[in-house]
Amino acid sequence: MEQLIREKIKRVKKGDQAAYSMIVDFYQDRIYQHCFRMLGNKHEAEDIAQEAFIRAYINIDSFDENRKFSTWLYRIATNLTIDRIRKRKPDYYLDAEIKGAEGLTMYSQLSSNDPLPSEEVESSELNHYIHQEISELPPKYRSIIILRYLEEFSLQEIASILDIPIGTVKTRIHRGREALRKRLRHV
């Protein structure tokens, strides 16, 4: 598979735009899921995941073919999600719970009778809860915990995705695990 992706990237670099669609197809679920876990919000996740693929395409010439494409793509996506988290104002998200109304989100204010987009995926309460807890970790621990335990990258790979020294990865993962422990210990 890695070899096939390499071939496609060569063709994209030569200007063959159509070759890129197979790359998007191959990575879309992983990148979308990564963005969703980082952002805790489907609309933003779709937006940022698309942006990540577009950025990767535009900058494909700067991708070093000797390195792993997935690492590079994850780095773009992670940086974009962190940017988005920094920029966003805390209000006005449909997914956000309304203060003082436990369990009610802004979706309940919409008059549409269609099934809510969130219902299609959030099959279990626990799943929803876990994603919620993850998305409330501080972003720098969140990205590492997600990459390590949900996407199963090695510490070395995480260091190159986040472009930080491996020592920093270790420190952050220790603190991230402690933060997670404090949130989940009473479940």
Binding site: G15, Q33, Q50, Y57, I58, K170, L180, R181
Partner: protein, 213 residues
Amino acid sequence: MEIHKEKIILMHQYLDGEIDKIKEMELFTHIEKCEACRNHFEELTQSISMIQSAENIQAPSGFTNNVMRKLPKEKKRIKYKRWFQTHPILTAAAIFFILMLSGVFSQWNQDNELVVSKQEDLIVQGDTVIVPEDVVVDEDLVIQNGDLLVMGVVDGDVTIINGKLINEKSINGKLMASAGEVNGELQIVDRVFEWLWFQVKTLFKNVFAFSAG
């Protein structure tokens, strides 16, 4: 009950798979005895396995198509680059043509000085070249950026670039009329394109003269 900080560091080393056998033994012997550290360790491993139970989610349908639609059109630069790579001879020809053309044009724009191919026996008055009455020029005559008044005789061809052949001119209060004659071919080039054509013709003439010689 107190938590042992140095043992927690060992726990994290263990979780990262970066602990040696001796330290590992030390950690687990301690955990068996110390309840606080045992709880801490269990909470850590449980929270990890809990988040790992999170279900995978999939990208919304049509995701790839949406991305593909939003991609910028193929870069023009790449298109040109590819074209140049596939047509090297045309590219070389085009570059040669552009260089030649720009050279010719800059020559046209820069040369505003009067240039005469032959100086002796001729009178130059301002930007007018005069062939005096009693002079016979037996060679070709080329005048650039000036007018020509012929009172004598020119046996060769006459070419006037960016100027004209005048019939009369008042010099020192005396009206001088063009009473002479040109026996060769008379050519007046007054426009860029004509001049260009002249240049090209000259070039070819020279090339043929060169190859013939």
